[in-house]
Structure formats: structure tokens, C-alpha cells
């Protein structure tokens, strides 16, 4: 089985979560990891 393509998103405020969600919708096979240095994600949107 081929390895899944990996997408890394740096930052979990507004642009990051929007990007990750859209990428997953376009290609559900993507393996997505989002890194956020703070305690919360999706706080800026």
C-alpha cells in the first residue's frame, strides 16, 4: 500500500484550521497534522 501523502499545517488560529479543513474535503486521503503552540485552536475565526 502506498504511503499516504502528508500535509503539515503550522498554526491553528484561523488560516491554519481553514486550510486543514478544506484540504481534507478536497482529498480525504491526505494525512493532516496541525501544530499550534498555544493551548487553543480555532480561536481567531
Amino acid at each position: 500500500m502506498a504511503q499516504k501523502e502528508k500535509l503539515i499545517v503550522i498554526g491553528g488560529s484561523a488560516g491554519g484550521p481553514s486550510a486543514a479543513a478544506r484540504a481534507k474535503r478536497i482529498n480525504p486521503e491526505l494525512e493532516i497534522t496541525m501544530f499550534e503552540q498555544g493551548r487553543f485552536v480555532s480561536y481567531g475565526s
Binding site: 498554526g11 481553514s18 478544506r22 496541525m34 501544530f35 475565526s45
Partner: protein
């Protein structure tokens, strides 16, 4: 907060790791260095595609005493909680807000609601100095009516601290002012350090250079949000406009393109709105100074009109300022202020800017009219009509 890490995992199968800081990007080996902040562990994680959405941080003054613990900035939820907890626990009496942009102006209301004596120190003469004078003057009046002390033309020199390491007063070029809380609301700096170190190019604004597909100059690295630039359709220039709605749009484009799709964000016109106590303030496009800087032959028109038919309850006076090019009548920007019907109304002008409409075309637009919502001649139509007359008279 819109979603939690668990929701990302369960609903969307997206792994979210909070308290994880990416400290390095290796674009040749295609991996990032990640520090798990709670465990102080570091690891390298491989990627095929990378999106840099590192955001921005609040600009801080570096003058003596500026690291005191009762000096706050406000950008995100954690900052907001920190300020609220401080006000709850310490019950401060008197706050100095440095800067007079929209964060400063919105926080005036928040601090006044909590009963704090509120001072706004600003290096310029009028609040919201990037907006047109007529707008700023009304903002000033609203501040004064709500007992906010606006102190213009001050440059900060130093903070004096007490024995607890807290600010007890601040010194400006004009005097010394005792305060027990400080909010620095001085704008934002894009977080570009790890990108720059990896060879990702920055634009002239200092934010990450990108294109309408949200690519960077480095293959397989994309960017979105407050760390990167955005194209302004009016000035036809790449600018730095750190706002959440733009970040989300850019994020969608970056996400779609990294997943194999083809999306683009052609640009923004620079629309925003904020609230100062009872006042709505909204603007789109360029102000006079910016428009002149970009070489337009600038003229403007200011009018005041009712937000709806005058006999209807809730009708309020709105001030509208249109900025346009006198050579071809093209709209370049619009700003509005008033107690009702401003923030939504600006969107009509945003559409006009996107479509490069002239004031003459705007004056003849067919807007919906009914007395509870508007007047037969909407304030925008009146402003455009007056502006168009001005050009014809020349």
C-alpha cells in the same frame, strides 16, 4: 472558539497538536522540527506539503519597564482571558491604552463597562489615525461622551514600576501619569522567523510573500493568514492586512491547492468594521492619503444623511465619505460612521470597488427601499450623486 482538537480528529480526521511549537523548517529534506512544549521533547516530522499559518503577534514597545506584569496586549483568546482575570482579581482602577486603532477603541468600552478610568495615549492627533479626519473626529466625540480621556500627540518614554514589578505610572513626552494597568494596542508583527530561516521570501511589508494561489517561493510550501501578504485590488499592490476573514479565505485556498485542487484569491479591497461604544465605524478601499500615494488624482465627498426615513423609530444620522479619482470618477474608497446602519451598508461600496465602479454608476444603483430600512435615496446614493456633480462642475 469554533472547534476543539477532539472535534477536528473525530469529525474531520485532522490531527491537532496544541502546545507544539514548530521551530525549524528543512525544505530540502521536507521536514519540520517540532517542540512538544508540555514535555520539552523535540522531534522532526516529515511532510509532502506544508502550510505556514504562523499568524502575527502584538507589537510591544521596548522602553524602560515595558516587561512589567500589568502590561497587556490583546490578540487572541488567551490574551483576553488574561486581561479579564487580572481585572477580576486585582480590581484595577485606571488603565492606560497605548494606541488608538480598533483594538484600543473596542477595549475602551470593555474597560469602561468594568468601571476603570480609561486613558488613551496616541502619538497622533486624532483616534483611528488611518481613517479620514471626519471619521476620527466623531470617534473622539464618542470617546469623550463615554468619559474616556484621549491624550493626543504623546510619545511614550518609560514606565515607572513599584516594588512588585508593576507599572505605577507612565512617562510620556508631555508628562507623568499614574495608572495601574496598561494595554499595548500598537498593531501586529507577522510571525515570519522560521519561514525566513528556511529561505521563504518576504515581501516589502515584512510579511511572507505569496501569490493568489497562496504559494511561497519554495516548492510545496504554502502560506495563509496574518503571517503573509494579500493583494489589494484597489491599489494593485501586495499589502499587509492581518484580519481573520482574510486569513480564513487564504486558508481555504492554501488547503485546496495543497490537496491537489486549483483555487485562488484574487485579492481584497480592504474592508473592515468596528464598534466604538454606540458608534459603528466601517471602511473599505483607500483613504485620501493612501490613494494619493498610489498616484490617483484624488477627490472626496462627505455627506450626512438618515439611515432610514426620518419618521421611523431608530433612524440615525450617518456620515459617508467617498474617495474617488476625479479623472474617471472611479471609486477608490468609502468610510462611514453612525449609530445605526453603517457596518452592513459598507458592503455595497466593497462590491463597487471590486467591480471598479464609478461614482456615477453608484449613484444610479437600484437599492432596496422601504421606510423601516432606508430612505428613497440611500446615504450611499446621496454621497455618490454629490460626488458625481463635483466632477461635472470641474
Amino acid at each position: 472558539m469554533v472547534r476543539t482538537p477532539q472535534q477536528f480528529k473525530e469529525k474531520q480526521d485532522i490531527e491537532v497538536k496544541t502546545e507544539h511549537r514548530v521551530t525549524k523548517i528543512d525544505p530540502k529534506a521536507k521536514k519540520v522540527e517540532v517542540v512538544n512544549l508540555s514535555k520539552s521533547q523535540t522531534e522532526w516530522v516529515p511532510y509532502d506539503k506544508l502550510i505556514i499559518a504562523t499568524g502575527a503577534r502584538s507589537r510591544r514597545l521596548t522602553i524602560p519597564g515595558s516587561n512589567a506584569k500589568n502590561i497587556f496586549t490583546l490578540k487572541d483568546l488567551e490574551d483576553g482571558l488574561r486581561i479579564r482575570n487580572y481585572v477580576d482579581e486585582k480590581e484595577p482602577k485606571c488603565v492606560a491604552i497605548l494606541g488608538a486603532g480598533y483594538i484600543s477603541l473596542e477595549m475602551c468600552e470593555a474597560f469602561r463597562l468594568r468601571g476603570l478610568e480609561t486613558f488613551v495615549f496616541y502619538r497622533r492627533e486624532l483616534p483611528a489615525g488611518n481613517l479620514e479626519r471626519e471619521i476620527s473626529e466623531r470617534i473622539l466625540k464618542e470617546l469623550q461622551e463615554n468619559d474616556v480621556h484621549f491624550l493626543p500627540s504623546h510619545e511614550l518614554v518609560a514606565f515607572q514600576l513599584n516594588s512588585n514589578g508593576e507599572v505605577s505610572s507612565l512617562e510620556t513626552t508631555k508628562g507623568n501619569y499614574p495608572v495601574d494597568t496598561v494595554l499595548m494596542a500598537l498593531g501586529f508583527i507577522p510571525n515570519v522567523e522560521i519561514a525566513k530561516e528556511a529561505g521563504v521570501e518576504l515581501g516589502k511589508t515584512g510579511a511572507i510573500r505569496t501569490d493568489i494561489a497562496q504559494r511561497t517561493n519554495v516548492t510545496d510550501i504554502y502560506t495563509a493568514g496574518d503571517c503573509c501578504e494579500v493583494f489589494n485590488l484597489v491599489s494593485q499592490d501586495w499589502v499587509y492586512t492581518p484580519l481573520g476573514d482574510i486569513a480564513n479565505k487564504q486558508g481555504r485556498v492554501a488547503g485546496e491547492n495543497t490537496a491537489g485542487g486549483r483555487a485562488f484569491l484574487s485579492g481584497v479591497v480592504g474592508s473592515a468594521a468596528f464598534k466604538v461604544f454606540e458608534l459603528e465605524v466601517a471602511f473599505t478601499g483607500l483613504g485620501i492619503l493612501a490613494a494619493q500615494r498610489y498616484g490617483f488624482d484624488v477627490d472626496s465627498q462627505v455627506i450626512e444623511a438618515e439611515s432610514k426615513v426620518g419618521y421611523m423609530p431608530g433612524a440615525k444620522r450617518i456620515l459617508v465619505k467617498l474617495i474617488f479619482d476625479r479623472r474617471d470618477g472611479r471609486l477608490l474608497g468609502g468610510q462611514m460612521i453612525g449609530k445605526e446602519g453603517v457596518a452592513r451598508r459598507i458592503n455595497a461600496l466593497a462590491v463597487a470597488l471590486h467591480q471598479k465602479m464609478t461614482i456615477d454608476e453608484i449613484a444610479r444603483l437600484d437599492f432596496a427601499y422601504a421606510p423601516p430600512f432606508s430612505a428613497p435615496f440611500d446615504p450611499i446614493l446621496i454621497a455618490a450623486e454629490q460626488a458625481a456633480k463635483k466632477i461635472k462642475m470641474d
